[in-house]
């Protein structure tokens, strides 16, 4: 599903965020990307949804080489991918409902379909009663859950979640992990960037550890 061949990314001349990274993530896998602050986790995810182009190397998503595709094709790539951004990226001037509906409307979904799906997604993250508020009227954790709902509402082929539990207490984090696992069970490939060792200790899955932009370990627990 996701293949990286010798990918290097440097934002500036002097510093390298990712160094000669090669990686393969199969369809339906559930993968943690771990690493210290500044290890390159977000950079890796950003390249997968084509927000950033690699300086060198090739990336294949669902068989498509995304380092080569034109600007007009990027939206269609992104429709296959649900992203939970590290900084949420919610629209503060729009209601919670609209924020989640946005992702469906952008893909041209019909109105009745939109409202049904949005309500269901909000219910799954436990915020259906916050429908009409704006993100600024929510707590940090609630905002994060809206971001998660928006990523899941489109039933993506691939789910990229960047630190999705940074502002969640353990109980809610466990619930959210349940959502991810259910999506994974339905066939979604999940890539979850985190620095929280607790997370992958509680839900052991394949764990790719980054350090200084390089893979330092790629561990698959036997149980899965």
């Amino acid at each position: 599903m996701i293949q990286l061949f010798n990918v290097t990314k440097s934002y500036r001349k002097d510093s390298v965020a990712l160094k000669d990274l090669s990686l393969e993530i199969g369809k339906g896998e559930f993968v943690y990307v771990a690493g210290a602050s500044g290890a390159g986790k977000t950079t890796l995810l950003r390249m997968l949804y084509a927000a950033e182009k690699p300086s060198r190397g090739q990336i294949l998503i669902d068989g498509q080489n995304i380092t080569r595709i034109g600007r007009q094709k990027i939206p269609y790539l992104r429709r296959k991918i649900g992203v939970v951004f590290q900084d949420y990226k919610l629209l503060n001037s729009r209601s919670v409902y609209e924020n989640v509906a946005f992702a469906l409307e952008a893909q041209g979904k019909k109105r009745y379909e939109v409202s049904k799906k949005v309500y269901q997604a909000l219910k799954e993250v436990g915020l259906e009663h916050r429908l009409n508020r704006t993100p600024l009227e929510l707590s940090g954790g609630e905002q994060q859950r809206i971001a998660i709902a928006r990523a899941l509402v489109v039933d993506p082929l691939i789910l990229l979640a960047d630190e999705p539990s940074g502002n969640l207490d353990q109980a809610v984090a466990t619930e959210i992990m349940g959502l991810f696992r259910r999506a994974n069970a339905r066939g979604t490939t999940v890539v979850l960037a985190t620095h929280d060792p607790g997370l992958y200790k509680r839900f052991p899955r394949r764990l790719i550890s980054l350090d200084g932009g390089q893979v330092v370990s790629d561990y698959r627990p036997d149980t899965v």
């Binding site: 007009q72 992104r78 992203v83 951004f85 001037s93 992702a103 893909q107 109105r111 489109v154």
Partner: protein, 298 residues
């Protein structure tokens, strides 16, 4: 398709409701610019109307200093009539000239009492076809007239016409320059206002792109918004123009001429009014387009 259009319009309207002051700024700027351009257009159009009216009165007069023999006169008149430029030749006898002079003196006519009726020379008033009522080519005509009516004084309002024509051309040039400048300024301001609007909503544009919206999907509501604002701006300009016309231009003309009835001012005709409003729409769309071009590159 229809469903999508409705969605776009709804989004455009919602945006306008959400940012009323942004919307008002754009609309007002366009209205002011369009009003000014249109006002200038009206002034130029009316001055040109005036020129044409005055040009109609343009005629060549041959003063018959020594009354010619009737047969010579008839021949002179007929050969002048044959010239392509000439529409009509009227022979004014000395008595008729005196009557006209008396009329022109008005209140002071009394002082002509006792003056001999033959004292003024007779004349031939030569009216020209409309297409020849201009200075170009006039020299040729005059040369030909001089041979036909040799020995007589030939007059025409050359000085006055020259002056007035240069005035009209300066006015037209001014109109062009000022109108162009104003439209450019309006476009600049509108495009900047819209760019600012985008800047204020840049997160929205970015997030749309990130969740898989196509460029067309992102841009269309903004273009619609620009078009709608332009429409309002154009309508407002039409309203303002009507007020300016009725309240100011007509007043000025009334105060300058005693008999304005004879000279009715032109307002924009239906076609031109449409162009004004449509110009607003174009301004809005173009303003949006120039701003949108640079903004979306995520």
């Amino acid at each position: 398709m229809l469903d999508k259009m409705r969605y776009f319009i709804m989004r455009a309207l919602r945006n306008m409701r959400q940012w009323p002051f942004l919307c008002a700024a754009s609309v007002l700027t366009m209205a002011v610019a369009l009003t000014m351009v249109a006002t200038f257009f009206l002034v130029v159009v009316n001055v040109e109307q005036l020129t044409q009216r005055w040009s109609k009165d343009l005629q060549v007069v041959v003063y018959l200093d020594r009354a010619p023999a009737p047969s010579a006169l008839t021949q002179m008149v007929s050969s002048i009539r044959e010239m392509a430029e000439v529409a009509q030749v009227i022979h004014v006898t000395p008595a008729e000239a005196m009557a006209q002079f008396r009329q022109r003196l008005g209140e002071n006519a009394a002082l002509l009492q006792g003056v001999d009726n033959d004292i003024l020379p007779g004349s031939l008033e030569i009216a020209l076809h409309a297409q020849y009522q201009q200075r170009d080519g006039m020299d040729q005509l005059l040369a030909r007239l001089k041979t036909v009516a040799a020995g007589h004084d030939i007059h025409y309002g050359q000085d006055w016409l020259e002056r007035f024509e240069s005035f009209v051309s300066v006015l037209r040039l001014t109109g062009l320059a000022l109108g162009g400048f104003l439209l450019f300024a309006a476009l600049f301001i509108v495009s900047n206002t819209i760019r600012l609007t985008f800047y204020a909503r840049r997160d929205e544009l970015e997030i749309m792109a990130l969740v898989g919206a196509t460029e067309r999907f992102i841009k269309t509501p903004f273009l619609l918004e620009g078009a709608l604002q332009g429409l309002f701006g154009g309508l407002l300009a039409l309203l303002a123009l009507t007020l300016i016309f009725k309240g100011i231009l007509v007043e000025i003309v009334h105060s300058l001429w005693v008999t304005p009835a004879a000279f009715s001012l032109l307002f924009l005709n239906g076609h031109q009014q449409l162009i004004l409003v449509f110009g607003g729409v174009l301004l809005g769309v173009f303003g949006s387009l120039t701003s949108l071009k640079k903004l979306i590159q995520i």
